[in-house]
Assembly symmetry: C2
């Protein structure tokens, strides 16, 4: 059974426990998926509503993409568990002989690469959810517009969370070119998401008259 | 069956759908509960670890509070659905006679008050989770310290999300004293959480060397 087939109560219990997985990476993926789901909800409610007719093609395009990202982020809940498990497994490999040591070092490096790529992909997907939440906030039906503000807040939290896992794993990578590219990309994603998520939140709050 | 007994997949499907509930308020409560769970995890992993002995009383105090808040936030998932349902029900009451109208107006006001109090309570709980995540980030075991950064990001997103529901419902309240107190408190919580969550995230990132 995949982790997202478990109940929310069970997931939260396991998250709170001292078990290493699920951890922050899986939580980030769930929170990002919730952000995408809220963007989808704004589109699903708005389609067919009076006043939203002209925006229908835009809302349909946003919905198609937010649903793709929601499913991708949902799969990342499990990817994070397996990337973390792979890394823990690699550290536990025998290191008695030189051959053992070489095999272990190689396994650690390939696991570290995966444990960097998974959160990097999560952060990219969340960056896209933030962009979609702006379009949903601009064109969505007034009565559900606040959900675009919840969606952007969730996606930003997930992006920041995923970034922490890149910062943990990338420094130990021997492939310095990839490590630096990953950290550089995460820094850009973080900087862009910070200003963009504030702008979308302010847009939504402004529409509420708050 | 309460909503948090449903699977994550099912919750996300319902969130994305055009059904009015669960909406952003329930998502905020789940995300806040995940933030509290991550603070609990940092404490649960750190207790008994070498180097964390001196911080054990602090970690136990943080854990007791984060678990209380996690359970409270989990219950708010359902509270939000019921507050929203109550409000929708009140708007649908008959308004044929003057007596009908008076009864409906009263039901709307009491539902609006509840639909303001629930997200206000959610935001207060998330503000506390942010404060706890700082203590977990300061005293927790290095290998799980990033989870304090995920926890604070989740709690801040949930607080901002809950605030939107206060901004939606408070303006229509006839009890202006309560409405203004609620909006004033939410503005204070938002301002404090913005700087505090940045500080905790920077603290955690600094400990990762990122």
């Amino acid at each position: 059974m995949s982790m997202t087939q478990e109940s929310i109560d069970e997931f939260l219990n396991r998250l709170a426990s001292s078990d290493p997985t699920p951890g922050g990476g899986s939580a980030a993926a769930v929170i990002g998926a919730a952000g995408a789901a809220l963007v989808s909800m704004v589109c699903n409610v708005s389609l067919g509503k009076r006043g939203c007719e002209a925006a229908e093609p835009e809302l349909r395009a946003v919905l198609a993409r937010s649903e793709t990202l929601r499913h991708r982020l949902t799969l990342m809940v499990e990817d994070d568990v397996s990337a973390f498990g792979g890394l823990m497994g690699a550290y536990k490999l025998p290191k008695a002989t030189e051959e053992d040591k070489a095999r272990r070092a190689e396994a650690i490096q390939s696991s570290l690469e995966r444990a960097t790529r998974v959160p990097l992909d999560c952060a990219r997907a969340c960056g896209e959810v933030i962009a979609l939440s702006r379009r949903a906030g601009e064109h969505g039906y007034q009565h559900v517009i606040s959900d675009a503000g919840v969606g952007v807040s969730a996606a930003y939290a997930a992006l920041r969370s995923a970034a922490l896992n890149v910062f943990i794993n990338a420094p130990a990578l021997k492939d310095r070119a990839f490590a630096e590219q990953a950290i550089g990309e995460i820094d850009l994603l973080l900087a862009h998401a910070a200003s963009e998520s504030e702008a979308v939140y302010a847009l939504v709050r402004g529409k509420l008259g708050g």
